[in-house]
Symmetry: C2
Subunit: 290 residues, 2 copies
């Protein structure tokens, strides 16, 4: 089975689990908005990385950490809903469908995002199988990687550059906006699999490198990708005066840098018991169709 | 010392601790926006309730839970920043000062709120003194009480009523928007103080009752309070067609209901070792000046 096929199957597993964990309640519109965005598709890369990182270190049974994997997608979905808001990236389409605020209005979209964030932490705190020591570590890593010192900080830097030209470090933006969250997922997999310090460090480095490659490749797709295949408008970054790798280095040099990150990622995890799938996943990132 | 004086001193202690725990970093504007809203004043009722609930059960040294108390104010501040946004309550003033989005723009205000939420959970996960078992319980209680089954759900119901007249249960709104978070703080104090089941239950009921009294009194203040003393516009609820106790029951009946809740709260915690301060606090809620 090739890696693309494997990732598709893993995404299907995650999709099933997401459906199991989608909360229901009142007011219905709030819960509908969350469910709408949670089931709008996506590669489910973050939950897959949690599961595959745990497996790479040797964890065999992943049933007891599926809720934690799902929680990472709740956080990712909250960030997409908020990023799409008019005051932020102002996007009408996401994965070929109208964005959350287009369907449910801005107020409910803001609250759906807020609620998905708190529910992600609630889900992890309810796990019950994993020890509290590990769950606290997982929460710490996830909150740190997706908060002000990770994703939220990177998103702020990205917006500040776009709106005021006041933040000019492309590496800061990519590292914080994208790579730190992806890195967190790999580290969480390590923690949940009783990794040694060296294994955890290798997975952290792997996560950082593929996170950077992932964002560079996304910038390339935005610049030269096919709108229909991607399910979203392209050339948005250019319109918005965003800092991107292609805007600084051009397409070919950007591709080369992304490939170098992937090579470093692949090397980092050679020491793990079962690195093959994560290595395939790293290579897949820079093979996504343009 | 009267209760008002005591609460003022406790708020000063919390203010000092908030300053200690305010995060710093880049992009500066994001961190400035969080600090701006965190230091904009307020009664600090939620952290005080965590500390006083722990003391009421018998905890003497509260130094090891001050960060958890501060984290509750981070969550409260995130909710205020998001509630004030144009797409939500659209408020320009909060405690006599321009609201976060008025000073830093909407995008940074959204991200400051998101970041305060994740940082609250990060802070708790970093505690280090309290056992992981208890910290996981604290996170579960806080995420539940402030999320889709608590504050966020109540805020959505409130907004949906205002915008579409589609959600008409005042008790649902008050319980979820305000009381569940306050209840969580009392329960967190109990958990951090090794309360018995009966003590924890008493504090949960106390929290629910004072939370409801608090929101009813807030509605009364909005209707007949003095703008200068309150530091915000009054009669906003009426303008916005919000569901409030005064709009349904009138002022006098609303005051009576609030007083009954306070009496119930005071009775609930008679079984605790040191209930006096919490009882005083309950009575203070319905003595706030109109």
């Amino acid at each position: 089975m090739n890696i693309k096929e494997y990732l598709k199957r893993q995404a299907e597993l995650i999709n099933e689990k997401i459906k199991e964990y989608i909360p229901s309640g009142v007011p219905e519109k709030l819960f509908d908005a969350m469910a709408y965005s949670l089931t709008a598709g996506g590669k489910r890369i973050r939950p897959v990385l949690i599961l595959e990182s745990a497996r790479a270190v040797g964890k065999e049974d992943i049933d007891d950490i599926l809720d934690i994997a799902v929680a990472s997608e709740f956080i990712h979905t909250y960030s997409l809903i908020h990023d799409d808001l008019p005051a932020m990236d102002d996007d009408d389409l996401r994965r070929g469908k109208p964005t959350c605020h287009k369907v449910y209005g801005e107020a409910i979209a803001i609250l759906a995002g807020d609620g998905l964030q708190s529910y992600a932490f609630e889900l992890i705190s309810k796990n019950g199988s994993i020890s509290p020591e590990k769950l606290i570590k997982v929460i710490n890593i996830l909150a740190h990687g997706t908060g002000i010192y990770g994703m939220v900080g990177g998103q702020a830097a990205d917006i500040l550059h776009e709106k005021e030209n006041s933040f000019d470090d492309i590496n800061f933006i990519h590292t914080h906006k994208t790579a730190k969250f992806i890195q967190s997922c790999c580290q969480i997999g390590a923690v949940l699999s009783d990794a040694t310090c060296r294994e955890e460090e290798a997975l952290k480095n792997y996560g950082l490198y593929i996170g950077l490659a992932f964002q560079i490749w996304d910038d390339i797709l935005d610049e030269i990708g096919d709108e229909k295949k991607l399910g979203k408008k392209t050339k948005k970054d250019r319109e918005k005066n965003k800092l991107t790798y292609p805007s600084i280095y051009g397409i070919e040099k950007s591709k080369k840098i992304a490939k170098e990150y992937v090579e470093k990622a692949v090397n980092e995890i050679k020491i793990l018991k079962n690195p093959e799938l994560l290595q395939g996943l790293a290579n897949y990132i820079i093979s996504r169709e343009v």
